[in-house]
């Protein structure tokens, strides 16, 4: 164990083997609490709101008045604050530290975005108000659309998708509609590289396509010749992520687009990694026909513990006539909201107008950064990833060496060979060092993948601390200290959780204890 100059132990120290902690507090809690479930502390009587009790006669309820109990737990306001503040402290967050999650783009979430989204003129307007009363909202949507189309050099954008996967669905639906309209409905195959996100094949299958895999080259990119070999008259589209999920720019993307178009198919680009190139490369210039943009990744809207997302999809001129409704357009009397499919437009993919709250946050972010700042952010994201790669590549194994990465650095697990430490173990040990794990085992094309995406938000100081920890961990793994990894995490609110047990006999909600057999006595 190393000591600092005051003689105190530093670094990780010696791990405590499972279950041998020598201290148990009386309450079973500490400053990191074991917070009981809401249903264990609340009850049916308590409430944190004051509402008048009114008498109703039930004559308008058609005989459908509730007779069953609901069984909801109520808390007073102070108890509510404590419950949710205590729970929150069990979470890692981007405000508390770096999230090196490849493919997820966990960047800083500016609070100005939140403040603007809460202006009553945005938060307190109804989606079905008369259009004359929401001209500011429509103008905002129009401006956001302008930024997205300018950054991508595309002809149209459908703002409404609720998340990236929903945007994929909208884009692929537009492709399908365009091909049906052109008498090309017999095209039933979608090409998907092996490194693709799981949503790509899932989306293609959802729309009735069969998926044909395209192998990657030894350097982690897609070979235009392999695409040509996979193209046939029944291919509807290729779904290609660029920069790809190995963190590499596809060098033959323009040739791939040309080959795909030559074969009468469309080019769907998964825009999950747009953060690497915004303001630097316009996907429209590469020949893409459709691409979703995750506002919660690229444009800083918060992930919120798993959503809500927002996934506007930009469309080429060929696909623009097939965009789903609703969309905004300039009209004689102001900005119009087109709510009903006319011509070849697809119908709705969601009620109302999409994720307005996210539009406000994304546009606020764009205006703050400006076109120049967005380009600088992309360059810094790429700089940060390459810096990590440069600092780690002498120790960590890089599956596709000899080229700069884009916004994320990919490593495989060959450096761990013979150590008894897996990628999972390594990632969990990062938790004990105060970092969220990197993305693990994705992309699938690399064995034991570790995908590190720092984003532009991290300072050099943080990156250096992260690299120092990564190098120290790698050395320790190679030195044979596998227990530190296989028992990790020890310094987290929970140790490793039994996922097999959770899946084998699922417990998906709280059950009242007296109803359980063992409590019947």
């Amino acid at each position: 164990m190393s000591m600092n100059n005051q003689g105190r132990p530093t670094g990780v120290g010696t791990p405590v083997p499972a279950g041998t902690s020598d201290f148990t507090s009386v309450s079973g809690s500490s400053l990191l609490p074991n917070e009981p479930l809401l249903f264990e502390i609340g009850d049916r009587e308590h409430s944190g709101v004051d509402l008048p009790d009114v008498a109703i006669d039930g004559s308008f309820l058609g005989g459908f008045e509730r007779k069953s109990e609901i069984d909801l737990a109520g808390l007073t306001e102070p108890e509510t604050l404590r419950h949710y503040v205590r729970l929150s402290r069990l979470n890692y967050s981007i405000d508390s530290g770096m999230y090196p999650l490849g493919s997820c783009t966990m960047k800083h979430n500016p609070r100005l975005n939140e403040k603007m989204a809460r202006l009553p003129g945005f938060a307190d307007i109804h989606p079905l108000q008369p259009v004359s009363t929401v001209q500011g909202a429509l103008a905002l949507m129009d401006e956001l659309a302008h930024w997205l189309m300018t950054l991508t050099n595309t002809a149209a954008v459908c703002l409404t998708p609720k998340a990236g996967a929903h945007g994929e669905m909208a884009g692929m639906m537009a492709i399908k509609a365009a091909q049906d309209a052109a008498g090309q409905g017999h095209r039933k195959v979608v090409l998907v590289p092996e490194s693709a996100h799981g949503t790509n094949p899932a989306t293609a299958a959802f729309l009735g396509y069969s998926v044909r895999a395209v192998p990657a080259r030894d350097d982690g990119t897609v070979d235009v010749e392999a695409v040509k070999a996979a193209l046939s008259p029944d291919v509807a589209a290729i779904m290609l992520t660029n920069p790809n999920t190995c963190g590499l720019f596809e060098p033959e993307v323009i040739e791939i687009a040309a080959a795909v178009h030559e074969a009468g198919a469309f080019f769907y680009c998964d825009g999950a990694n747009f953060n690497a190139i915004m303001g630097v490369v316009r996907p429209g210039d590469l020949g893409i026909d459709a691409m979703h943009i995750n506002l919660h990744k690229t444009f800083s809207t918060p992930h919120g513990g798993g959503g809500p997302g927002a996934g506007p999809v930009v469309l080429s001129a060929a696909l623009a006539p097939f965009a789903p409704v609703p969309f905004v357009r300039k009209g004689s009397g102001g900005t119009e909201l087109v709510e009903h499919a006319e011509g070849q437009h697809l119908g709705r993919i969601t009620a109302f107008n999409g994720q307005m709250g996210m539009y406000v946050r994304a546009l606020t972010y764009m205006l703050s950064h400006g076109g120049d700042g967005l380009a600088q952010a992309a360059k810094d994201a790429v700089l940060n990833a390459n810096y990590i790669k440069a600092r780690l590549e002498r120790v960590f194994s890089v599956p596709f060496p000899g080229q700069p990465c884009m916004h994320e650095a990919l490593f495989d697990d060959s450096f761990l060979e013979g150590t008894g430490v897996s990628t999972l173990d390594f990632a969990k040990a990062l938790i004990d060092e105060g970092f969220h794990p990197m993305t693990m085992y994705f992309p699938l094309v690399v064995h034991g993948a570790m995908l590190v995406e720092p984003t532009e938000s991290e300072s050099k100081q943080t990156l250096d601390r992260f690299c120092d920890v990564m190098l120290e961990l790698a050395e320790d793994a190679k030195a044979g200290n596998a227990a530190r990894f296989t028992s990790a995490p020890l310094n987290a609110p929970r140790r490793r959780l039994d996922e097999t047990r959770a899946a084998r006999s699922p417990v998906l909600k709280w059950e009242r204890q007296e109803l359980l057999p063992q409590a019947a006595e």
Binding site: V54, F60, L61, L72, G307, G347, D372, A503
Partner: protein
Amino acid sequence: MRYLPHSEHERADMLAVIGASTAEDLFARVPRHALLREPVNLPRHSPEFLVEAKMKALAGRNHAAGDGPFFIGAGAYRHHVPASVDHLIQRSEWLTAYTPYQPEVSQGTLQMLFEFQTQVAHLTGMEVANASMYDGSTATAEAVLMARRLTRRSRIILSGGLHPHYRDVVRTYLGDGPDLVCLPASPEGQGDILNRIDGDTAAIVVQTPDFYGHLRDLRAAADAAHAAGALLIVVVTEVVSLGLIEAPGALGADIVVAEGQSIGNSLNFGGPYVGLMATRKEFIRQMPGRLCGETVDADGNRGFVLTLSTREQHIRREKATSNICTNSGLCALAFSIHMSLLGEAGLKKLARLNHHNAVKLAKMLGTVPGVELLNHSFFNEMTIRLPVPAAPIVELLARADVLAGLPVSRLEPDNPACENLIVLAATELTTDDDIAMLAECLHAALSEDAQ
């Protein structure tokens, strides 16, 4: 560029470590002619106060619901959100956390989702609920697909009382064809679905309170569906109603989907909202979306994880139940906090108050000459028929700062039977003065129109 930490000096140092001479070297794999030579034609970066001024100017061009009498519902409802809800969801640890794929450092989000699933299951009277969907409309489309997988049948019948946007979303997801039967709009609450069920029917979809405000007989619908081997999907767009109306699960529903916006979430011009989905335990392996489950950690302590992910796209790829990747976590949190504050007692009071105000609204509308109330039953929403087309009247009232409800023709432009209809909602925020003002303005508008 206040969000970017590097100085030029640091950038240069980092490039030196990388062994690159310029930032452009890092883009060496990008085809030369694809790299932008000129900056994109967009405004340059801007100080916080200027961005704020611009956004405020845009917001100022909208009429906020709180600015005057307000009666629009139709799937999104203006309710009071307690101050502590919005405070809590803005805590960094909630707002800026990622999806809880690393459960050891995500127990806050996971326990919250477990509590949320319990609340939703109890509220709907179902055995299990998932960790939320995008919104009510997409949850409805996913429920329909789930019913097809469960029954291995294809016909879906949508009630004429289903929200037209929800119907349109299902149509987009499924495509038009003989296997999707959309019954004509039923503004008078007419029963239309039971005798359409046949041996090919996978599910019928019934909304209650329906789009026009009527309460629907779920028991009869469930019995008819089950007799034919079909499933009953119940849609609820106003979850507050479940504080006063019998739970769909207690009446035989197989899948319940709902829009949860009413609890904890602002109107937000339509999103983000939070879709709820609940079903029977035997159906969970065909349920889309994330699920949180209880387990233990290596020390035997209770903990929570995302589970049954073998249904999901990141594991199953093209064989997944859905392409859904995300849920509506932060909106689910807002829902869960607000529901905790309400509790059983508070939700019931809130529901009664909504209904109470709606009864006042209905009675006042009954005094306006020419206005015909179409509902015999309602919770907090109802439909009226005017002697004249509704849209111009609603527009006229909007100019007097009274947002008088939704002219149904906006959603059903091709249905002449809907041209004179308005759907109106009252909530706990509706005052007697609001109702009086509406009646007065409506009376005046109709009198002017008659002249």
